[in-house]
């Protein structure tokens, strides 16, 4: 029967501790492929640099849609202002 809570005897607890000690000292069945400390330091430096660049560029990126919207609005205004005079001018063309 498996009743987990409070069901582990002192003897079983000793076995579990022993098993975990054995596991801790057991040889690994594969080797870590970790980067060296110098590589990590370099990566951290790069990440910091990118973060700083991103912070500097953020206002520009944020303003980009505003600039596009303003340009579009200006084009619409210009068109609405020039279309009537264009209609006046086209009939005067002679081919």
């Amino acid at each position: 029967m498996t009743q987990y809570d409070g069901e582990i005897t002192a003897a079983e607890e000793r076995v579990l501790s022993g098993f975990m000690r054995r596991l801790q000292s057991a040889a690994l069945d594969c080797s870590p492929r970790m980067a060296g400390a110098d590589v990590l330091l370099l990566k951290a430096q790069l990440v910091r640099k990118w973060d700083a660049q991103r912070r500097v560029h953020r206002p520009i990126e944020l303003m980009e849609p505003v600039e596009i919207a303003a340009g579009f609005a200006a084009a619409v205004l210009l068109l609405s202002w020039s279309v009537p005079s264009l209609f006046d001018w086209v009939p005067r063309l002679t081919f």
């Binding site: 498996t2 009743q3 987990y4 809570d5 409070g6 069901e7 582990i8 003897a11 079983e12 607890e13 000793r14 076995v15 579990l16 501790s17 022993g18 098993f19 975990m20 000690r21 054995r22 596991l23 801790q24 057991a26 040889a27 690994l28 069945d29 594969c30 080797s31 870590p32 492929r33 970790m34 980067a35 400390a37 110098d38 990590l40 330091l41 990566k43 951290a44 990440v47 910091r48």
Partner: protein, 163 residues
Amino acid sequence: MLTERAFGEFYQRHARAVWTYVYRSTNNAADADDIVQDAFLRLLQADMVPADEEGLRRYVFRIAGNLMTDRWRKRTREKRHDTASTEQAEASPRDLDVARTFAELKPRERALLWLAYVEGDSHRDIGEALRLGGDSVKVMLSRARGRLRDLLKARGLIEGEQK
């Protein structure tokens, strides 16, 4: 923030222990490599870190635990399963048997047991490392111990140890 030299020495002393913890918990060497690298990178990027070595060690274990938790949650959502490492190096059959028995537990159970027994962490520290509440740690750890005991019983290892 750590100086380069202090970081180098700290990494030299503790990276393997963190890797072993993550590897035993995830049972996946590639994940362990990624998580350990990420954990130490985050340590380097942190503005405030503990001043003493033991505090730093706990800090890295906590980051690694949090990263593992994130992966388990993501994988649960994606319904992916652990891929056990197929690499076999220098481990003896006995070591492999111990490792395989442990690998039958769920990843979170493995992490809980490792932190409790190998690292000797308190329930509070375990909770912080694995993003669990204090009561949850108690219940889940108890359940993990029960599961491990049952596995050892099923393999006849409990009687063997008691002789």
